[in-house]
Symmetry: C2
Subunit: 125 residues, 2 copies
Amino acid sequence: MTKQFRGSPEEADLRRADSLAREIFSDVANKWAFLIIENLGERTLRFSELRNEIEGISHKMLTQNLRMLERNGLVVRTVHPTVPPRVEYTLTEPGRGLRATVDGMCDWTHTYLGHIEAARRRFET
Amino acid sequence: MTKQFRGSPEEADLRRADSLAREIFSDVANKWAFLIIENLGERTLRFSELRNEIEGISHKMLTQNLRMLERNGLVVRTVHPTVPPRVEYTLTEPGRGLRATVDGMCDWTHTYLGHIEAARRRFET
DNA sequence: CTGAATCCTTGCAGATACTG
DNA sequence: CAGTATCTGCAAGGATTCAG
């Protein structure tokens, strides 16, 4: 299908942007990332604090997702060279931008909790 | 820790609501669900149309996620008893409600595409 | 066309242990 | 305390096949 397609630079750019957007989407649209963003909010939290806040997340998932968020520039990681080490995480501006979305989803969940519960009961037949 | 906890009905309800909310969150906060919701939008689409719209989704993932969304009352599934069968999917009101959130995330992605790209380059060092 | 069921592979995610 | 590495299982997800 790409055969004989006029490959203008603009088109190439659009393709790259689209695939990147899709990639970011895949990275960030998962529950742990959302929960981290939601729990960070305007605060600055340590690794262990986050671990305690987010019920059910494992050490490994937390580090993995924090790395991912850092890589994409949604959180900043600051290391205090003390002993014991103290590592803190904060949302960046893009991170705070996404927080609005996540907040929206939380609101949505609570708004429609009843609808959904009813739908589930209806479904089990 | 639940030992000796005053289990008032209100508290029990809150707990149930919380765990349900968390469950819904886990169900819905995944990329395929988001992409389905985004692509459905205000339209009504057939299974095969959705399959074509959402690049990279497998037959199985599409059915699984549609079932999940149907179960939670975010989409309705209408079967036309023709031959060959024709099955259409549409967002419900809760589904359209969530669409606002998903749209927000799409906007966010495009807004910060540059930031993120830059952050990634910075990270690879 | 839609969807369920089957196999089969892969990679996720938990547990554990070890460094700085 | 924070992070990495290794091992292991189990479940997600792809390909295929069959049914309605």
